[in-house]
């Protein structure tokens, strides 16, 4: 039976997050949250593997207590077990300390044959977590996975999407896989699973519950990077519609404007 870990993250709805122009901070208050969409693609890939080869899917996330919502959403569509890492000391973590915390918490549950991740999150979008986790789990890594073709004899064979085509690769397990979304659209939960997920037990770890956790390596102290400033990109000037009443005068006006700007 395969032991599968799927890493997920609750993020603010990035379409609704605004930035405080004075402080450069993201205004998250009152913004609805959602599960990082690419993580749901990773979960779907894991569920397809479970359906084909059998196994158990453990979900893991780090975040505030409300991140439990994301775990329940994922339990409803195929997760079997869920771990929430939460507590103030984990706050402000960059990818270095987050990957450390996740691996330490996952080790509490046991060893995993396969680890699935979204290739990045929609809020941070560093794309660093998967590789850091692979390193810390001492796992091989398959990125941009298009299909998981075969799992046998301790190896995974998968097809990767490249800019120029496809590539078939084989990796030994444990193996961490990030997926392309096209083949792994998340499924809707059925009613029973949805209702069951609401009361399913969730293992919650604080900094005091994880064996061997070095507090100097979590949260802000464990972070290798700081973000001194965030600012929105400068937007180009909005376009203008020329509508003078006739195509002929429209073109004349366009030529005038282009000449004014020195484009012609």
């Amino acid at each position: 039976m395969l032991n599968i870990l799927v890493c997920v993250k609750q993020i603010p709805d990035v379409d609704l997050v605004k930035m405080d122009p004075e402080t450069g901070n993201l205004i998250r208050t009152g913004v609805p949250t959602l599960t990082n969409p690419l993580d749901l693609n990773a979960l779907e890939a894991a569920v397809q593997v479970k359906e084909r080869y059998g196994g158990e899917i453990t979900l893991i996330t780090m975040g505030p207590p409300m991140a439990e919502e994301t775990l329940r959403e994922c339990l409803a569509v195929g997760g079997d077990d869920a771990i929430l890492i939460t507590g103030r000391p984990f706050g402000g973590a960059d990818t270095l300390s987050t990957s450390y915390s996740i691996v330490m918490a996952a080790d509490m549950k046991g060893k995993f044959d396969l680890i699935f991740c979204g290739k990045e999150t929609m809020d941070g979008a560093t794309g660093q977590m998967a590789s850091q986790l692979a390193e810390r789990f001492d796992a091989s890594q398959i990125s941009c996975c298009f299909t998981v073709d075969e799992i046998a004899d301790g190896k995974v064979r998968a097809t990767r999407t490249l800019e120029t085509g496809k590539e078939v690769v084989e990796a030994t397990m444990p193996c961490l896989i990030t997926v392309e979304k096209d083949n792994f659209y998340g499924r809707l939960p059925n009613l029973k699973a949805y209702l069951d997920s609401k009361t399913a037990p969730i293992t919650t770890y604080t900094e005091n519950d994880i064996d061997g956790l070095d507090l100097r390596l979590i949260g802000v102290p464990g972070s290798g990077t700081i973000v001194p400033k965030i600012y929105p990109p400068e937007l180009p000037e909005p376009g203008q519609i020329i509508r003078t009443g006739s195509p002929k005068t429209d073109v004349s006006r366009l030529l005038e404007l282009l000449a004014e700007k020195g484009s012609i």
Partner: protein, 477 residues
């Protein structure tokens, strides 16, 4: 159709004086889109003049000039109609309300909003939501104007629970054909005060007057909602489930029907297969998307549990839950894209939006599919199963236009006859325009059609308002 005068340079000058130079268009300056709506198969007709109006007084000014000179006037909103309703058949003037797009005033004590007709449905819905309120009518085309929705009495997905646009119109400011301005209705919950000209104006498609302001009823926004997708092996068992939902007292907000073809098209178009084509490796024949609203999650869970129980008894393949914001967004954007998805992979398209008693939906769909096969025309359909309103599209990528029209006419003639046999109506929510006028006449009979014509004549004795639409009165004189 009546005969009309052409717009002379002198008349054009007077019209231009009403709206000013920047909102007056003539000849090549007229947006070519003003010659058609979203169903160009019904022909393209350019107006001589187009004006963008901004006030009731401007509309009145335009109408006075056109009335004095017997110039036809076709009112147009966003042009999202599907029956050629806003197309200027005899030329004349197109009067576009798209710039009358202001939300004027909320009356939070009476839960109403006063708006101009060019406000887009999506903008009213979003603005009401920002006030903690909901504008219940929910037609699929969110970029339609609310004025257009009133003119066609648009329905939409939530009609099952909340009714249609008509039910939310409390008062209207209307400019009559001769330019007089009248007020219809008041901000009251009920009225028994003579003939309801207000309700006559709703659904009159710009043939009786031009709506320039309206007071719309709103409701408190429901706290939470959830949708369930209920897949079935075939259309028959799918539709048979609809009355069971109602009888179970589940009070759904909407019950949408989708067959497997439209689900496949939509998935290809949006790139997001949110609605499954198979369940447990078995092919889905048709599905219902049932939406509930409530005050808390517990209430919705109880409704879903009950739905699950009756769905199982009815042979549903499963009950899937659309609960997260991402899934809701994906599901409703897929549902809203059905028509666009059909249009995207079709060169020639014609449509009908009949409404039949709910239990007659399978019989009608089976019949129409048979007609499609017989005529070599691809049929796509979806609709509001909760109220029996079906959107049926005849599509072709291979036929020449004239041959397509010929074959579709055979289908339409037979389908509308079948609709009448099943005690249905010609249009559920897209209205009549000029495309369905003949079928309306057959459906309602000569006496009723004549009465409609007489009413038209009272409001518009020179037939200058949107000529050739709904019930061309000149046909029954």
């Amino acid at each position: 159709m009546a005969t009309y005068n052409k717009v002379t340079p002198e008349i054009a000058k007077r019209l231009k004086a009403v709206v000013g130079e920047k909102r007056f268009y003539q000849g090549e300056g007229i947006d070519p889109n003003y010659s058609h709506d979203e169903m160009p198969i019904y022909g393209k007709y350019m107006p001589e003049i187009a004006v963008d109006v901004e006030t009731t007084e401007e509309v009145s000014g335009i109408m006075k000039i056109c009335s004095e000179n017997k110039i036809p006037v076709t009112c147009r909103g966003a042009g999202t109609g599907l029956v050629g309703g806003c197309v200027p058949l005899p030329g004349g003037v197109v009067l576009c309300t798209r710039r009358m797009n202001k939300i004027l005033h909320y009356d939070m004590d009476n839960l109403v909003v006063r708006i101009q007709p060019g406000v887009l449905l999506k903008d009213l819905a979003a603005d009401a939501l920002a006030h903690g309120l909901m504008y219940p009518p929910d037609p699929g085309e969110k970029t339609a104007t609310v004025g257009g929705n009133i003119a066609t009495n648009a329905g939409g997905m939530r009609a099952v629970k909340y009714g249609v646009t008509r039910d939310y119109v409390l008062a209207l400011t209307v400019v009559l054909a001769d330019g007089r301005i009248i007020e219809l209705g008041k901000t009251v919950c009920k009225t028994s005060s003579g003939y309801s000209l207000l309700h006559l104006m709703v659904g009159s498609e710009g043939t009786l007057g031009i709506i320039t302001e309206m007071t719309m009823k709103l409701i408190p926004n429901p706290v939470c909602d959830v949708s369930c997708l209920v897949p079935f092996r075939d259309v028959d068992s799918c539709i048979s489930f609809v009355p069971k939902i109602k009888l179970a007292n589940l009070d759904p907000q909407s019950i949408e029907f989708m067959d497997s073809d439209i689900v496949t098209s939509s998935a290809a178009f949006t790139g997001n297969p949110i609605f499954p084509e198979t369940v447990n490796n078995e092919e889905v024949g048709a599905s219902l998307l049932v939406t509930f609203v409530g005050t808390d999650e517990e209430e919705l869970d109880q409704k879903m549990i009950k739905l699950g129980r009756i769905a199982e008894e009815a042979g549903a393949m499963d009950v899937l839950v659309v609960a997260t914001s991402s899934n809701k967004k994906a599901a409703w954007s897929a549902r809203s894209s059905f028509l666009t998805a059909i249009e995207a992979d079709t060169k020639l398209i014609d449509e009908m939006d009949v409404v039949v008693p709910v239990d007659k939906i399978p019989a009608f769909l089976i019949y129409i599919r048979g007609l499609g096969e017989e005529q070599g025309i691809r049929i796509r359909n979806f609709g509001h199963a909760g109220d029996g309103n079906l959107h049926i599209y005849c599509c072709s990528n291979d036929l020449e236009v004239e041959e397509f029209k010929r074959r579709v006419k055979v289908i339409m003639d037979k389908a509308y006859a079948k609709c009448a046999e099943l005690e249905g109506q010609v249009s559920g929510e897209h209205a009549i325009g000029h495309a369905k006028m003949g079928y309306l006449r057959e459906s309602v009979g000569e006496d009723v059609f004549r009465l409609m014509g007489e009413i038209k004549k009272v409001f518009d004795p020179d037939y200058i308002l949107n000529p050739g639409k709904v019930c061309d009165a000149t046909l029954v004189r």
